[in-house]
């Protein structure tokens, strides 16, 4: 299909960003039956799917708004894989324009890669423009020269070229986006002043249509990489005709979808109630997965009456929850991280004022929380483990207590709940 925007034809543009090619999934715990094969290489498969779709639908142009690679990732084979996909696009007549984001600003891969002639990289030292006259499209943009760019580079973008469909390609936190570094900050006003027809943004991993006049769009990342990136992930497909966007659609390209499920336990909930809630949550999640593998984190919290029972046989409870997930989802649902964060329904403060061993224990723990010297002896008892753990692991919140005294205090609160629950004799039938 050869369609010229200038002549009134349509141009199909695919806008993607934050592909983070070959960066691994984070936070998936391996238990027996973990679908490792399905999980690894997910970012590659998502890119292949994107290219497949672009070819099948005869897209003319693919835009990648930064972070094609992960910064820490240096495997040159990743670049070659990208080149292979770009060659496929070249054979299908798809042109590609991309720029560097904060993650691949200093990527050794990008520096040395020889890209096929259908791929153009926008400069990093100034804003540049790629004009595709046959399509009637001009793409303006500037990549990150270094990882940390705190200036508004969009200000220096050229003004729109008349008679062409102008696209601004930019890796930016825009007016600040929670959870993202405030790189290349700018404002919608600055962007609108440029007179472009479409701003293809990158950096923010959640899809967002910031504006529709002109279109300012974050397509989100192509494939979620951790449980922080739940829900559908993919690219934005836009039809351009007569010099304007006639259709804008988000297409899911992810091959594995993340879900963060939380079960809020009620005070009267028994273990069976919690399992039933787990089943319901799993079923609802699967229903919206569109056939993809769901990698889920499940957190059970609240102050259920079953708390003590759960704490006394936590492994068995975890196994039961996993069995429910397996029963509902089979191979399509992988419960990678299961967090039992139920708290005691007991009024611990009231108990603390009483007499007897439990009150003594509670007061002892309170003392530990308030006495750094006492905590030191606890830390010493864990020093051998600390020495064995890699530093990056110890920086995880669950293990920060090994280095961080404040974190240790929080853990002592957890322990208080757990110990009191386990010290109470069985309640008999629930």
């Amino acid at each position: 299909m050869v369609a010229y925007a200038a002549l009134g034809g349509t141009v199909l543009v695919v806008h993607a960003s934050d592909i983070h090619l070959d960066s691994p999934m984070i936070g998936l715990e391996r238990y027996e039956g973990c679908p490792v094969d399905a999980l690894r290489g997910a970012t590659r498969r998502a890119l292949v799917k994107l290219c497949d779709t672009a070819l099948e639908e005869h897209a003319e142009l693919l835009l990648i708004a930064g972070d094609l690679y992960d910064g820490a990732w240096k495997d040159y084979a990743t670049g070659l894989f990208f080149v292979g996909q770009m060659r496929r696009l070249r054979e299908g007549g798809v042109r590609v324009v991309f720029l560097r984001g904060n993650h691949d600003a200093e990527s050794q891969i990008t520096k040395h890669l020889t890209l096929p002639d259908n791929v153009k990289q926008l400069p990093t030292d100034r804003a540049g423009t790629v004009v595709l006259e046959d399509l009637g499209v001009a793409i303006h943009g500037r990549g990150f020269p270094t990882r940390e760019v705190f200036t508004d580079i969009a200000k220096d973008y050229p003004t729109a070229l008349g008679s062409l469909f102008n696209i601004g390609l930019l890796h930016t936190a825009l007016g600040g986006r929670e959870g993202h570094e405030p790189y290349a900050p700018t404002t919608t006003e600055v962007l609108k002043q440029k007179g472009y027809d479409y701003w293809a943004l990158g950096h923010v991993h959640r899809r967002e249509v910031v504006s529709r006049g002109p279109f300012i769009v974050y397509p989100g990342n192509l494939q979620g990489r951790s449980v922080k990136e739940t829900g559908s992930r993919g690219a934005t497909f836009l039809q351009v005709a007569g010099g304007r966007v006639t259709e804008l659609e988000h297409r899911a390209m992810d091959v594995v979808r993340w879900a963060d499920l939380t079960i809020e336990a009620d005070g009267d909930d028994t273990i069976d109630d919690l399992l039933a809630k787990t089943r319901g949550a799993a079923e609802r999640t699967l229903a919206g997965s569109e056939g993809r593998l769901i990698a889920a984190r499940l957190t059970i919290r609240g102050r259920p009456r079953a708390h003590a029972k759960i704490r006394k046989a936590e492994d068995a409870f975890v196994a039961e929850v996993r069995a429910v997930a397996l029963d509902v989802g089979g191979d399509d649902l992988w419960l990678g991280d299961l967090r039992v964060e139920t708290a005691s329904p007991l009024d611990l403060d009231a108990l603390r004022t009483q007499e007897g061993p439990i009150a003594h224990l509670l007061r002892g723990l309170e003392g530990l929380r308030n006495d750094a010297d006492s905590r030191r002896s606890l830390k010493e008892a864990l020093s051998e483990l600390r020495a064995k753990l890699p530093d990056d692991l110890v920086r995880e919140p669950e293990l920060a207590c090994l280095d961080d005294d404040e974190a240790l205090r929080e853990v002592l609160v957890e322990i208080e709940e757990s110990l009191v629950a386990r010290l109470a004799p069985d309640a008999g039938d629930e």
């Binding site: 070959d22 691994p24 238990y31 495997d75 040159y76 070659l80 403060d349 853990v411 010290l423 004799p425």
Partner: protein
Amino acid sequence: MRLLELQLLAYGPFEGQVIELSRERGVVDVVFGGNEAGKSTSLRALEALFFGMEQTTADAHRHPYGDLRVGGKIEAADGSVLELVRRKARKASLRDASDAVVDEAVMKRLLSGVDRELFRALWGLDHVRLRDGARAIFAGKGGVGETLFEAGLAGAGASRLAQTLQEEAESIWSPRATTRPLAEALRSLAENRRLARRDGTTFEGYKEQVDGIEGAKREKETLEIELRTLDEERRRLDRALRVLRPLRERAALVLERASLGEVPILPIDSTRERQAASAALSESAATLAEIDAKLGALATREVALGPARTLELDPADAIDALSAARGSVRTHRDKADALRVEKAQLAAAIDGGGDDLSDERARRLITAVKRAATARAALVDATAALREAEATRAVAARRVEAASDAPTAPLEQARLEALRAIERREAGRAAKNRARLARSRAEAAFMSLGLFEGTLDELAARRAPAEEEVSEDSRRVERCEEEIRLAERELDRARTKLEDLDREERALLAEGDVPTEADLVSMRAHRDAAIAAAFEAPSERRAALASVAAADACGDRLRRESSRVSRFAIVLAEREAVEQARSQTSRRVDAARLALGAALSTAAARFTSMGVRALEPSSMRDWLRRRAAIVSDATSAAADEAAADGIEESERVARERLARALDASPGATLDALLERTDAAISRAASAARERDRAKEALSDAELAIARLSSVVASRTVDEDAAARASARELSDAGLATTLDEEATLGVVDDRRRARTARAALARIDAELALAKEAEHRLESIVARLEASLGTHGGEDDLLLRAERLGFELRRARERNDAARAIDGERGDLVRRRDDAIATQAKARATLDEHVSRAGVSAVSALEEAERRSERARDLALRIAEVESTLHAAGDGASLEALELEVGRVDEEAVLREREELEERREDVTRRRDEAFHREVASRMGLDRFEESNAADHAARAEIVRARARSLAARYVRLRLSSLVLEREMETYRRAFQDPLLSRASELFATLTRGTFEALVVRLDDKDRPELACVRSGREIGVEGLSDGTRDQLYLALRLATIERHAKHADPLPLVLDDVLVHFDDERSGTALELFAEIARTVQVLLFTHHERVAEIARDRLGARAHVVALDR
């Protein structure tokens, strides 16, 4: 708080029932309800009021869930009284008296924050938890901290929990273990990260590979060009080597040809033609001479034959004709006499033969005559057979009349019955024998069966228990015994293990005291206290320094002797575990013995009803089997005896019936009667067979007579017709009609012979005529030949004349044959002479032509000319061959070019050059191959970039990392939990040891009614404070106490804890559920006294279903007991 009323509004079986509790302090509320009275329901109702109703409850059998209600009046610490109602609902289940919702926090405040489980732990006690608590003290070896902690938490097992937490933590990770899950996860994490780094690819690596490919390709191309040049040079040298020799050979050949000069080239076969012509010339001259000589000899032989005779006929034909005619005449003459004699004989025969009779007529005549004779004979035969049949019929009729017909059926029936009786006679005897044997066997076995006092028949008549039941009893007993055996074996093993552990402990202690963490903690505490004191008072500095030194020394020892310390701890832990196991095993033994007794009683009861004194089930199972065999034998003997009697009776009946049938004496034996019966039946059967045969013969004879009468009639008609036909034929033949068959045949033979003689006579006459004709023909031939030869035979016999003529004719024929042979030979010789003359002329012409072509003057010079011509031709051919070889070897190059290329080179020099070139070429080839290999290696290296596993390893590393994180977090929490719990148990001991133990000591002395005087704390082998009981001044550790005393110890500690609790905080009601079931009346009374004492500070609710407890309470406590009897 205090519960004043428990209202069972609609709960379990109750409706509107109110249990009023005492409002006075120091009064024990004893809630008594017998079985099914609702004591347990009331307890559940109390908990339901406090904590809400269970989601599923067994107490909704009367009232539906929605209607369940429990109420109560509760006095708060401040003296206010609340009336609350609990409904069955997930939310808003707490109401006030007006059914208004009450905030759950109100109840929580009343309950001081405890939930159902903690309430049971802190304020509840039943006999099970009492026993569990006592066991926990024992399991904790009487460690004071653990014991006091356990006493405050009924049945919670705090020390067990601390141990479990430690074990769970160590199952995840241990500093020195390498196979724990966390250690494995960390290893896997490091390995996957290493692999990710190893497999990671770089641009430099990529470029190296790409450059490697390009460099190798370039080098390969350069070397291939060089290789092609070398190949070209090698081809040139190879060509030089190929053409060098042929060129030299050609040059020699050309030189030789030139030396021959001008030579006419003769045809290839000139020499052969010349030689042939010369030979033909010589041969033809000799042939001509030989032919002339032979012609002379022929002329001589011709003269010797004389003149030729001229005959009219050819002598050969004449000889043949004469010989044939003479032979014919001689043959006829030889047969003529015999023919004449035969002719005379035939004439005589013809004269006696009568008229001629044709063959057809003779045949018809003979047929008719023979038919008439046959018909006549058949008629005679049929008539005779008819007469014979009539005679047979008469005989058969007489036999039928003579045969008798007597009935035998009744006799046969009687015989059959008799035979059956005899057949069964043996079976009867056998049955009788079997019966005798079975009975004697049963009686003998009965005698030795034992355990039964009655007769054999009585034994058989009484119903015995099923063997399956007894087997089940036996198995049950065996299981119990096995359980006892196994448990006792385990006890033995435990004993041995304990001895081993004791030995090891002694050995460890023999190396000096084993310091413990507790020691260190204690010393550090002392140190801290001493330092604190030193700050207060400088004079204490010395003591502080000593404490510091002691604590440091203890710490040093712990480090130094860590292996001994840890081994000692293991030994102690193992001993504790073994002791626990031994205790459990002992209980197993007791339980198994009880079960064994029960099983034996059940088994014995099964035999009581049949009057048997039962032994153990395994023996009774055998007894039952033996009894079954005896009963079976007795039953079988009776059945066989009855069968034998029946058989004898049937034989008697058969004998009487047979005697009646034979009309014989009934006294005869059955066998004799049977013999006679057989004879009678045999006779009757023979008579019957004879009569049947006679009847059959009579019938056959009558049938034959009927058939033969018909035959005779038919044959009479046939005979008449045949006689008439015969007479007619005889008459037609002119013979008398009276002639019989024989005579007629004689006449016909005579007439046939006469006809044959007449035919023979005509043949003889013809032969005689031919003889005469032969005579005439011979005579004619002889006359002609004699006339031709001019001789005459005179009167001589014709045959003699013919013989003479034959001789003459043969002589004339021989002479003519010789003359014809000479003419033939002469003709041949003349033709051969003509041929020799022609050959001679042709040879001369050929030689003349050769002389002319060779340019010589005479035939004699031809040979030399031919030799020169041949040599010149050979040289030309050889030169052409060499040039052809050069053309091929020189790759098509011209001779001039080749000669120019090779010039004057030396072959050896070329060979050397070729060798050097080959070495160079090998070197270039090797370098080219190396370049190729480098290119391949670089390409393979490049493939690695397509298949990099770095991302896979990184993905795996992340997964393993998450696992390690999770395990480490769990380990941290378990380890911290364990540490904290142990720490707090120890601090609890330190804080409460003195007041609690002091009060518990009093309570224990009271409960044991002075058997034990006090509780004391002493240091165990590890210098750890442990609880001991003082009896008669002697300290006894908790392991030395009986179960009952341990129960009392635990109760004392628990009551002391509760009492102390009540002194320092608002207490909840103490709910005791049948806690005195293991106490005798006296001890129960003492315990109730203590409950009343405690009730001064804590509300005490004692639930019991033992009326005796209520009675004791009334007796011992009087007004201090408020007994509530539950009544549904």
